[in-house]
Point group: C2
Chain length 228, copies 2
Amino acid sequence: MQQGLARVSRPRLYEQLVEQLLAYIETAKLGPGDLLPAERDLAERLGVSRATLAQALVALEVLGVIDVQHGTGAVLARRPSVASVIKGLREHQSRLPDIVEARSTLEVKLASLAALRRTDQDLEAIDSALDVMAEEIGSGDRGARGDELFHQAVTTAAHSSVLAQLMAFIAEMILETRMESLGQPGRPEQSLASHRKIAEAIRKQDADAAAEAMLAHIELVSDVALLK
Amino acid sequence: MQQGLARVSRPRLYEQLVEQLLAYIETAKLGPGDLLPAERDLAERLGVSRATLAQALVALEVLGVIDVQHGTGAVLARRPSVASVIKGLREHQSRLPDIVEARSTLEVKLASLAALRRTDQDLEAIDSALDVMAEEIGSGDRGARGDELFHQAVTTAAHSSVLAQLMAFIAEMILETRMESLGQPGRPEQSLASHRKIAEAIRKQDADAAAEAMLAHIELVSDVALLK
DNA sequence: ACTGTCTAAGAGGCTAGTCCAGTGAGCCAG
DNA sequence: CTGGCTCACTGGACTAGCCTCTTAGACAGT
């Protein structure tokens, strides 16, 4: 399944430079507002061309670590910003219990909001996701695609952009949990049933029931992962 | 307050290129796995040098939109990924109600977890944050620093790395809300009182009370913002 | 003394040209 | 049919140079 082997690592100079610069900032105890050495200077010290260094600086800028100002230099952003967050997420690949915890927090809230705010159109999307899932399971599949569609539909139905963005943020991590759970025999059917319960609560616009059903669902889906 | 005027915008070619490339991907209906045109080709079409285009590609890579492979080309990532999330957050600067909603969801959960998992050291940090806040308010200040310290301390006490990362993710947005609220006359004192209530619940390790107190606090703090 | 103007040094922005290093399709011999 | 070779094509990186922006300091003029 998936896509076979991951391509062997492809080393890129600018990536190493990002690491080195981050380390430099750390050891040199540079704080917000401080300036990095000049490009020509840095390039020489690191033994790379200015063009390559420029790429590393772009990367740091996108990551929110620095703010490059024409004529002045590269100044450190006031906060570590989103940068460290993303880096932390990517590197640590946080432990599963924490992921489940975050997922549960967000999705329970999302489910109750969906119950309150859903439109008929949202409901259609939810139902069609259930159909897809039922069909997948019927043909012996694990129903992963329907599962993903369902949770997306519920998220959409909650009409809360920031919560939706947070969900997208941890979506990749959740995916791992989901794949493992659906691989268990009998699980897809159980999962489909609990999805139906959530959908019903949302249909009736019963926020508490929706929250409860979602909580139960996530606990069902997560216990396997937790045992590992 | 803050830092006076924001520096006038500094146009950067690579930023424009990122926009154009994103638009191109959109209009050309390129999907995951598809290849972008070759660098030399793109550079010519866009009227820039390859070095500059390379910067734009680095930016897109950091954003998770593409995956540049030596000898093959720039292939679109399987998912829109975190990229669109960040972009969305930065650009739309989501509406306040949504922010408050997300904040409330996370912090209420964080408060109850903190009640269950706090160590004595966590409690000390929370208390000292309250001291800082009281002192600030005593000297006529708004107590913003103490406020921030308090919420950070509670987040730490919850010992949930993923939730903490999500909080960091929306921290900037929350800051705006906080500043406005504390600017109201009488608010700092009210805010301090509700902080104390949260701290007490955490001290007694009463999760429900902590959640309730946090919810009340956020509602108090947010109503002004919502009126705007 | 104060204030406004000018200038030059130094910072980043961008380009053009060149060479190096993977990738993969296609050809050809075994 | 398989293995190995080649070659065209793709990105990776560097160099050299010129442009624009920022800022501190000199130098007026008041």
